[in-house]
Each structure stands twice: as structure tokens, then as C-alpha cells.
Amino acid sequence: MKGRVTVRLKPDVLDVEGKAVSGALARLGFDDAHGVRVGKVFEVELGDVDPAVARERLEAMARKLLANPVMETFSVEVE
């Protein structure tokens, strides 16, 4: 079972890295790319477990370490 945790900055947190990427894209001619936000993806191998259990484990990992709830939100997928 493979899982993926995606961590994003909360919408109200200024993403200076995203702003810099927007600016760089515009310089390449992608001036239609507004509001780029940079996040993180964690791919996790979980072995042979039930998808519901895997989801629960990934959510616990995100809450305890992978995301900081002060500034970030997360979502979890299993495949």
C-alpha cells in the first residue's frame, strides 16, 4: 500500500516562494500563471495494510510531524 500526503500553506499565509515562482514564470512568458502556491508531497510505503488503516496512519503522521497546523493544511491519498 502506497500513500501520499500533500501539505499546503494555509490560504491566508503569504507564500513568498510561490510569489517568486509566479514572477519567474511571467518572465518566461507564462504571465497567465497567477497565484502560484508551493507545497510539499510525501510518498510513504506502508506495506500490506487495509486502505482505511493506511489512511488513518497517514493522517496521524501528517498531524504529528509532516504538517504544522499553525501554517499548513494537508490531504491524504492511498493507492
Partner: protein, 230 residues
């Protein structure tokens, strides 16, 4: 007085902290490794600056889970004075010993310069009797203090913002905010006032040779308070 200075892999201001405690103040200090669980009965714990665990994941996140932090948290819960400087401040927020988080500087640049900070808020072991404006070095990439509106209101209402970026005359404004920190916050304390985190480096300006020596005031405050009680 006895200072314990915590060393994480990647800490680089631990020797500076030990030097201030021993050479400048003439007190006792030792380093405690990240994987130790015994602080060896200090009066004060210092969490130094640096790049613990290469700033992987988030600054201070991995360090917050090291064995020594259980001892630091217990020391803090018992009312022991803890000062986190720069990366030490980041470790304290990641450990939930202080609220909020430190994000990438608004200008996207690593800032290494002197900043003026105004001593504000309630007295703490490191600011009691310290007044006015101090000029202290800052050296960070993730120093933009962030907390939600409720937390900020609580910090302000309880006098827990203890350092604020300002001009040389103490003016607090955007023009003197080096990193985009909310409300020009450079340092805060916990509810009990005994845990303080700050981005500027008092230990790098604790003797006139390294600037004007104004950083020493924080360590002298701790000496007056803790040393005086012994």
C-alpha cells in the same frame, strides 16, 4: 549560575553561548547533546542558533523530536528559564513550548545584519530590568513570525511580545521590519513567562569587541533573577 546549552546536529551558536556564560559572565556552562536526556541540573537552558538537522522538513521540526527536548520541556514545565535563540526559537515553536511559527522571510533573502529591537511586554527571566532599544545581529532565512489572529491578540493582551523590531529610536513600523513578521515580532514568551524565543542573537553581541555588547543585558537579567536567588 549554571547554564546548559543544547547541541543539535547542525547547531552552530552553541560554542558562542558557552563562551558568553563562561568567559563573559564568569559562570558555569556545558553543552548537552541532542540524544541526552539529562540536562545535569542547570539554572538556565539555552537553545542556540544554527541549522539543526539541516533545516529538513521545517526549521526546528526534527530537533523538536530529539530526546533532549523531553528534558527541556520538563524543565520548562517546572518553571525553569529557557531561552531559544534563532533556530532555538524555531525549535521551541515546533515543540509547542511557544505558539506560532517562523516562516520564510518576506523578502526571500537570508538576512545577516544588525537590527534594532525594542524590549516590550511583561518581564521575563531574560528581560526583567532591561529597557529601551538593543542593537542585535540577526541571521536567518525563516524569521517571519506568524500566528493566527486569536493567538496574536492573546500574545499582545498578555504582554507576551517581548522583542519588537524597531528603528534606532524605538519606532515600530513596517520600515523597520526586516522579515515581514506579524506586528514586528522578534521575540515572545510563553504563558508562564519563563520560556522566551527570539530571532536576534544576543550572544553574538555580548561584549564590546563584537559590536556594542548590548546582548549581554539578557544574560545579566537571568543572573540577577536566578543567580540572586541562590
Amino acid at each position: 549560575m549554571r547554564f546548559a546549552v543544547v547541541s543539535f546536529p547542525g547547531s552552530n551558536c552553541d560554542d558562542d553561548c558557552v563562551r558568553v556564560a563562561t568567559e563573559v559572565l564568569g559562570e558555569t556552562a556545558w553543552k548537552v547533546r541532542h540524544d541526552e536526556r539529562d540536562l545535569r541540573r542547570p539554572d538556565v537552558v539555552l537553545l542556540p542558533g544554527g541549522f539543526s538537522y539541516g533545516d529538513y522538513l521545517r526549521c526546528g521540526a526534527i530537533a523538536s523530536l530529539s530526546p533532549v527536548m523531553e528534558a527541556v520541556a520538563a524543565f520548562a514545565r517546572a518553571g525553569g528559564p529557557v531561552l531559544g535563540i534563532c533556530n532555538g526559537f524555531q525549535v521551541l515553536t515546533e515543540s509547542h513550548l511557544l505558539p506560532g511559527a517562523l516562516l520564510r522571510n518576506a523578502g526571500l533573502k537570508f538576512i545577516c545584519e544588525d537590527a534594532h529591537v525594542r524590549v516590550d511586554g511583561r518581564p521575563t527571566p531574560f528581560t526583567a530590568g532591561v529597557q529601551g532599544v538593543l542593537r542585535l545581529p540577526i541571521a536567518h532565512n525563516e524569521g517571519r513570525y506568524h500566528a493566527d489572529a486569536d493567538t496574536l491578540a492573546r500574545l499582545e493582551g498578555e504582554g507576551r511580545v517581548v522583542f519588537r523590531y524597531c528603528g534606532p529610536d524605538g519606532t515600530v513600523s513596517d520600515a523597520f521590519n526586516p522579515n515581514g513578521a506579524s506586528a514586528n515580532i522578534a521575540g515572545i514568551c510563553n504563558e508562564g513567562g519563563n520560556v522566551v524565543g527570539m530571532m536576534p542573537h544576543p550572544e553574538r553581541n555580548a561584549e564590546p569587541l563584537l559590536g556594542n555588547g548590548q546582548g549581554r543585558a539578557l544574560f545579566d537579567a537571568a543572573l540577577r533573577l536566578v543567580g540572586g536567588a541562590r
